[in-house]
């Protein structure tokens, strides 16, 4: 006598959870407050608090989490008995397309200073960036849109810009680009994702 039929019922996937779209990168002095929850998706709320938008990028913003692990092995077992995180890096990278002195400075380590001289009699207005290898820490945030259409914010309280920056001056092939690598330098428990899920009830 045959038993109950064998049933194959795979779980349903949710196409609504498949997200795409650009990320918006803001930077600020470490310790700068985030906008209120209500305003996490409002650009002017960020800029009014002192956050700076990096502007257009060549290929969007990329977030890379890269832990390296150490296996703990024993002779009696072929698989490790534990896998321990030895180091972990979190990087936010992008190639900035807007060549402003502040963007150049940020790509080049954020260690330079920009002194502005206003125009005056016999003195053209000018901005002079003085470079330095004393890289300054900053805070960064990446804002994207979640499956509800609201803001999803990755907040990293402290990052340092450290990466090779190569900019090609071409007649027509492409714009001048400033590849930027922001490395998280704060403990992981200070890094957060905030996901807005529903409007306030009143």
């Amino acid at each position: 006598m045959a038993g109950p039929p064998l049933v194959y019922t795979p779980p349903n996937y949710v196409t609504n959870n498949v997200l795409y779209g650009v990320g918006i990168l803001f930077t600020a002095v470490p310790g700068t407050a985030l906008p209120s929850d209500q305003n996490l998706g409002v650009a002017t709320a960020w800029t009014s608090l002192g956050w700076a938008y990096v502007g257009a990028t060549e290929a969007g913003v990329t977030v890379t989490f890269n832990p390296s692990t150490q296996d703990i092995n024993i002779e009696e077992q072929p698989t490790p008995v534990a896998v321990i995180v030895s180091t972990a890096t979190l990087q936010v990278t992008c190639s900035m397309s807007e060549e402003t002195l502040s963007n150049v400075n940020m790509a080049w380590g954020n260690g330079g200073s920009i002194a502005v001289t206003p125009a005056g009699a016999g003195q053209p207005g000018k901005s002079v960036m003085t470079l330095s290898t004393n890289f300054a820490a900053m805070a960064c945030a990446v804002i994207g849109k979640n499956q509800s259409g609201y803001a999803r914010v990755l907040s990293i309280p402290t990052v340092m810009s450290a990466g090779q920056v190569q900019t090609a001056y071409r007649r027509a092939a492409q714009q001048r680009l400033y590849p930027t690598t922001l490395n998280a330098t704060c403990p992981f428990n200070q890094i957060s994702w905030t996901d807005l899920t529903a409007v306030a009830t009143s």
């Binding site: 470490p30 400075n105 002194a115 003085t130 309280p157 704060c186």
Partner: protein, 109 residues
């Protein structure tokens, strides 16, 4: 034999008289238990970030640019000709940057 018990009777009223004072303490300790709410976690994260940024260097100071320049930007912070609040952790760095750039900068005393 029952007489020694009598002096003990007045003792209970004494704690009863002081009971109203310690009562709020246990009530205040109750919310500290259990996991943090989402709002508390967010507040804690903000406070930790602020503490990490300020470090043990002290209070922020107010600085402004003087002389022929109208502003100096360093580390994402811009100091103009009006006093601007500078985090304590950045004061030394921005002073050094000003010196390197030949910009006069003044700290509010």
């Amino acid at each position: 034999m029952t007489e020694p018990a009598k002096p003990a009777d007045p003792a209970p009223p004494a704690p009863a008289a002081t009971a109203p004072a310690p009562a709020p303490a246990p009530q205040a300790a109750q919310p500290a238990t259990g996991p943090l709410s989402e709002a508390e976690q967010r507040q804690l994260s903000t406070l930790l970030a602020r503490q990490a940024a300020v470090g043990q260097t002290g209070e922020p100071v107010r600085m402004k640019v003087t002389g022929g320049h109208s502003s100096l930007s360093y580390g994402g912070l811009t100091v103009g000709t009006e006093f601007t609040t500078v985090p304590a952790s950045m004061v030394a760095a921005i002073t050094e940057a000003a010196a390197d750039a030949g910009v006069e900068i003044t700290q509010e005393s």
